[in-house]
């Protein structure tokens, strides 16, 4: 009986220099002309190699709250227009990591970033010292655990970011608001009550409104921090369905405590533990046959 004992998984992000060779091998993926790196996931003999563009390359990221090092040498490729889930026990740093992407930590004194999160195609280091957090937040949207609509009308909630960007034309505003509400699967429920207060919506509707608000400004990456932990199963299912459809237009990064949710919605899953990345792979691999025992222990509930 011959058995192959290859390394169970090999994940690598290729640099632009290597990219030309890769593109030649896979003309189907050659649409990227931007010079962005690719992510190749080559695993055991039963799985095909997938090559995708990297939207954000996380390279050796460390993050400090004062003296406390909360993130340790994280290197993860975030695939373009795919859903990447971050899982791990409380305190493992997954939310801290998520917040690096839109510079949320800048609001808190005594914090420090190291390493780089390179946003492609223009190679902007999101956590670079000279980079304006406001500019970063224009490109990276975020949806929080608790729905947090402004105490304004449904319409104004969605139009808010567009107005900030100087959009004044009423017709264009209305058009963009509709597009965002449709994108967030809320249009049919909200179209006849656009001037009603957002606070009159149900929890699930409020969360979809927050997604619409984030979508309106056409972010390149959408961050979700446990977006359904305050919602009932039906509202949760709607949000999950929505996340699946969003992947066509935006790169999604989601933190979730619900393992089944990570399995259902994500293309790639990263398991973190005390600030470190333990395992990163396709979600289907992580949830059927993880390579690391620590990952298996966590996802099967054998870790307290």
């Amino acid at each position: 009986m011959q058995r192959t004992t290859e390394a169970p998984s090999a994940v690598r992000a290729t640099r632009p220099a290597e990219e030309t060779a890769l593109s030649k091998e896979s003309p189907a993926n050659a649409k990227s002309t931007s010079g962005a790196p690719r992510i190749s996931i080559a695993v055991d003999d039963t799985r095909q190699v997938r090559t995708l563009n990297v939207k954000a390359a996380v390279d050796n990221v460390n993050f400090y709250y004062g003296e406390h090092r909360a993130l340790k040498n994280l290197t993860i490729p975030i695939a373009d227009r795919q859903v990447t889930a971050l899982i791990g026990p409380s305190g493992c740093g997954k939310s801290t990591f998520l917040r690096c992407f839109n510079r949320m930590h800048d609001l808190q004194p005594g914090t420090r970033y190291e390493g780089s999160i390179t946003l492609h195609p223009d190679n902007l280091n999101l956590i670079g010292p000279g980079v304006d957090p406001i500019e970063v937040r224009m490109r990276i949207g975020m949806v929080f655990q608790k729905p947090n609509p402004f105490p304004k009308s449904i319409f104004e909630n969605v139009a808010y970011g567009l107005r900030l960007r100087g959009l004044r034309n009423r017709a264009t505003l209305a058009e963009e608001v509709e597009k965002a509400l449709r994108g967030a699967a809320l249009w049919d429920e909200a179209k006849d009550r656009l001037q009603d207060s957002a606070l009159a919506l149900s929890g699930g509707q409020m969360q979809r409104l927050c997604i619409a608000r984030a979508l309106a400004t056409k972010p390149e990456i959408l961050l979700f921090d446990e977006p359904t932990s305050a919602l009932d199963p039906i509202a949760t299912a709607k949000i999950e369905e929505l996340i699946s459809t969003l992947r066509d237009q935006v790169t999604v990064l989601i933190v979730t405590h619900n393992m089944q949710q990570a399995a259902r919605v994500s293309d790639y899953t990263a398991f973190m533990y005390i600030g470190e990345l333990i395992e990163f792979d396709e979600a289907a691999k992580i949830f059927t046959n993880p390579s690391k025992k620590a990952t298996e222990d966590y996802i099967t509930g054998r870790y307290g």
């Binding site: 009986m1 059927t288 993880p290 620590a294 222990d297 099967t300 054998r302 870790y303």
Partner: protein, 239 residues
């Protein structure tokens, strides 16, 4: 790279009921395996020794095998529905549903052999069975051994044992081919025993199938332990 083991995790699953359900599933499979092994050994002894009461015992225990099948399948189904297992737990639940089918078929083969033993005891000509008795005995020992190892591999989650089972299947196939040649020669020389010859071929084929079931169980044990799918690997290489 930190290890969860260093930080003293809680032993076992946080939900004790899940751990209990999972180990019960394994225990029931092993019990069913034990019964199936005994069915095979008893039916073959009944056939070779002309022991009618032993053949009756095998037939009467067929319903026990079927009960095991229903119970274990229901348990595995419940486990998946109520606990949504992933990774190794999911592989175990899935493998249990598969192994139970293999064991039930082993039981079926034993039942058919026992029925043949009853017919022999009732006066069917014994010539063909006598002619290949040596092969029948060898194959019975081989299949019972393979089954025993497969069930032990399952019990101990031992992949080395499991690989041993899959490698012995070829030996069984050779014995089967040799026995068929012998029977063919006999049938050409003397055509009075054609009915009994066909029955004997079915008994040999039954043993050969039991070996396949043992191999399939062993493959599931490897799948549970490593997620590796060994099925039809040889075909892929040849094809």
């Amino acid at each position: 790279m930190p290890s969860l083991v260093d930080t003293d995790p809680i032993e076992g699953h946080t939900a004790k009921s899940f751990d209990t359900a999972l180990s019960e599933l394994r225990l029931h499979l092993v019990s069913m395996g034990g019964l199936a092994i005994d069915q095979v050994a008893s039916s073959m002894r009944a056939l070779l020794d002309g022991d009618e009461s032993l053949a009756r015992l095998v037939l009467s225990r067929e319903s026990l095998i079927n009960d095991f099948e229903r119970t274990i399948d229901r348990e595995a189904f419940r486990l998946i529905a109520l606990h949504q297992p992933v990774a190794g737990d999911l592989r175990m639940a899935k493998a249990a549903s598969r192994i139970v089918v293999e064991l039930e078929r082993v039981g079926d083969e034993a039942k058919k052999i026992a029925r043949f033993a009853m017919r022999l005891a009732g006066g069917e000509p014994q010539g063909p069975v006598r002619a290949v008795a040596r092969f029948l005995r060898n194959m019975a020992n081989l299949t019972a051994g393979m089954l025993r190892e497969a069930v032990r591999a399952l019990d101990e989650a031992n992949t080395d044992l499991a690989h041993g089972v899959t490698s012995r299947d070829a030996e069984l196939d050779e014995e089967f081919a040799a026995a068929l040649r012998q029977l063919l020669t006999l049938a050409m020389q003397d055509q009075r025993f054609l009915g009994a010859t066909i029955d004997t071929v079915f008994a040999l084929k039954g043993l050969e199938r039991i070996g396949d079931h043992a191999k399939n169980i062993a493959e599931q044990v490897v799948f549970v332990a490593s997620g590796e799918d060994l099925r039809h690997l040889n075909q892929h290489k040849e094809g």
